[in-house]
């Protein structure tokens, strides 16, 4: 029972003891443990993505009032869960087409890079109490900079295809991504300011009251800008399936396009995990101190909830045009994010720490609500003058 209470840490310790009891030198034991740990950590999101894709199909079907993988026939497995494996196998066996005039090196490396950068993010996501790949003291910033560095892979995909439309799609993607980085970074900065540290575990520890309730506007800002970074509806014009097919990834087929799809799902999982960490309290929940293995369960529930919300957006909202996306960013989200930072910083200084966490939380909440009301008033005036 004691073993079960802190299950994953205990498994790791047991493995380490197993290796240490053999006659290998100390250094090799450490290296093997680290390599095995890193491999398992890299596999966790890949396995979770399988479940995530099935989940997404079910929700899409429900919202569209139709049967999803529920009824894939006799071979679909219970609840159609084998549908995802069928998709994966399909991608494996498809023919790998490379355009004749494409730049082979760039064309082939782009999907690998996309997947590598998507998996790298998982090194700093806290999967449970004491369960983190590496508790970097720049935790959140590492995630942001990897997201920023992954923009180059789209350019490689678009340019390497030797296709004007792919290049244009890649350029438009990059413009959207680079623009929405600003409100994303600014909203994360607010959380870092309030928590006092970049490190993911520290941010979780600082959330006696989940930041969703004390900084709701910031949470919405982060959600909106991250949805655009992920290129999910309503911001997914670059891969509008019925229109432009796949934006920068038109010429990819088979496993390579599967890698892009996988990387997109991995990024979505990482964004939901980051949102849970930053705003929902990560792995915190009841009875976590007594049984740390429950912390992973709480995190998974929060991730599922967030995925549900993102899928709701995806299947109910229409798509925005690129100029509407950019206008939304530069005229609405960025000024709002800037004012949000100033207001939260002022309130954080005005309410001294000695007043206790609840008073501070209430002050932040009040400031956020006032800011939201002011924003609504200002933007409704703008819409009236624009429409009238």
């Amino acid at each position: 029972m004691e073993f079960l209470k802190d299950l994953i840490t205990n498994i790791g310790l047991w493995f380490h003891e197993l290796l240490a009891s053999t006659s290998l030198p100390e250094v090799w034991v450490r290296v093997i443990t680290l390599v095995v740990g890193a491999s398992v950590l890299a596999l966790v999101p890949l396995v979770a993505v399988i479940f995530l894709i099935w989940f997404e199909r079910k929700i899409a079907a429900r919202i569209a009032s139709r049967l999803g993988p529920n009824n894939s026939g006799a071979y679909g497995g219970p609840w159609g869960i084998l549908q995802v494996f069928a998709d994966a196998i399909k991608m494996f066996v498809k023919e790998d087409v490379i355009p004749t005039a494409a730049d082979r090196w760039v064309f082939n490396i782009a999907p690998m890079l996309v997947l590598a950068l998507a998996v790298l993010i998982w090194a700093v996501i806290p999967l449970g109490k004491g369960l983190i790949g590496s508790d970097l003291n720049i935790g959140v910033f590492y995630i942001l900079s990897l997201g920023s560095a992954s923009m180059i892979t789209m350019l490689m995909a678009g340019w390497g295809s030797n296709n004007k439309y792919a290049t244009l799609g890649a350029l438009r993607s990059i413009v959207t991504l680079a623009s929405y980085e600003i409100p994303q970074v600014l909203s994360v900065l607010v959380v870092v300011m309030v928590a006092g540290s970049f490190s993911m575990q520290d941010i979780i520890e600082a959330q006696d009251v989940a930041f969703l309730f004390t900084l709701p506007l910031t949470a919405l800002l982060y959600l909106a800008s991250s949805l655009s970074e992920l290129e999910r509806r309503p911001f997914d014009l670059v891969e509008a399936n019925s229109g432009i097919v796949a934006g920068c990834c038109i010429e990819y087929s088979g496993m390579k396009s599967g890698m892009f799809y996988l990387a997109e799902s991995l990024n979505q999982l990482a964004v939901t995990a980051t949102f849970s960490t930053l705003f929902l309290g990560g792995w915190r929940g009841p009875w976590v101190d007594q049984a740390p293995a429950l912390s992973t369960l709480w995190l998974m529930l929060k991730i599922l909830l967030l995925t549900l919300i993102i899928q709701f957006f995806r299947y109910t909202l229409p798509r925005l045009r690129v100029d509407q996306i950019l206008r939304l960013n530069w005229k609405f989200l960025t000024p709002l994010a800037l004012v949000n930072i100033c207001v939260v910083a002022l309130v954080g200084q005005a309410v001294p720490t000695s007043a206790g966490p609840w008073v501070r939380a209430g002050a932040f909440l009040g400031a956020n609500i006032l800011l939201a009301l002011a924003m609504l008033k200002v933007s409704s005036q703008q819409w009236q003058t624009a429409a009238g």
């Binding site: 005039a101 730049d103 090196w105 760039v106 970097l136 003291n137 720049i138 910033f141 590492y142 942001l144 900079s145 990897l146 920023s148 560095a149 923009m151 180059i152 350019l155 490689m156 340019w159 030797n162 290049t167 350029l171 990059i174 680079a178 980085e181 970049f198």
Partner: protein
């Protein structure tokens, strides 16, 4: 040979090798991509120097900003899928360039080797990011360069919008 030395050699080799490939590739897009690889190498060197924040900023600013801009400029201006034929891009005064490069390298090397660089730096402080943050806004620290840099960025933004505005 400690692990740190091995990692330093690896990252240094990546940085220098990629930099060499930048200046020798015919295809400009490939040169830009090798420049990005060089930036990754430099970020690795920053991590070895126990400056992880700087490594993340390097990725953010150089790879996610400057390199993207370079690639934008390349994709929007040149037809580089067909590398230049008939030697149009060949450098005819390569011997003068080689002479200047060797002279510069010799001078830099002589200065670097004959200078007394002082003692080894002290250990890295524990909360280096917090200290960096407070120093950036400390009146006796770096607040003046910090604010001047932000004014510079503002000037750049206004200039860009003015140049790119529709008349």
């Amino acid at each position: 040979m400690s692990l740190q030395q091995i990692l330093f050699i690896i990252f240094g080799a990546i940085t220098l090798g990629a930099a060499l490939l930048v200046v020798t590739r015919r295809n400009v897009f490939h040169a830009a991509l090798f420049l990005i690889l060089s930036f990754f190498g430099v970020a690795g060197l920053y991590v070895l120097l126990e400056a992880p924040f700087l490594a993340a900023v390097q990725l953010f600013v150089y790879v996610g900003g400057i390199a993207i801009l370079i690639v934008f400029a390349i994709t929007l201006t040149r037809d580089t899928m067909n590398p230049l034929e008939n030697g149009a891009g060949r450098n005819r005064q390569w011997w003068a360039a080689a002479l200047v490069a060797v002279a510069l390298c010799g001078m830099l090397g002589w200065v670097a080797l004959n200078h007394d660089w002082g003692a080894a730096p002290g250990p890295v402080l524990e909360h280096s990011i917090a200290i960096l943050g407070t120093t950036l806004v400390d009146p006796e620290g770096l607040v003046l360069p910090f604010e001047v840099a932000s004014v510079l960025l503002l000037v750049t933004l206004i200039g860009t919008v003015t140049i790119a505005r529709e008349r």
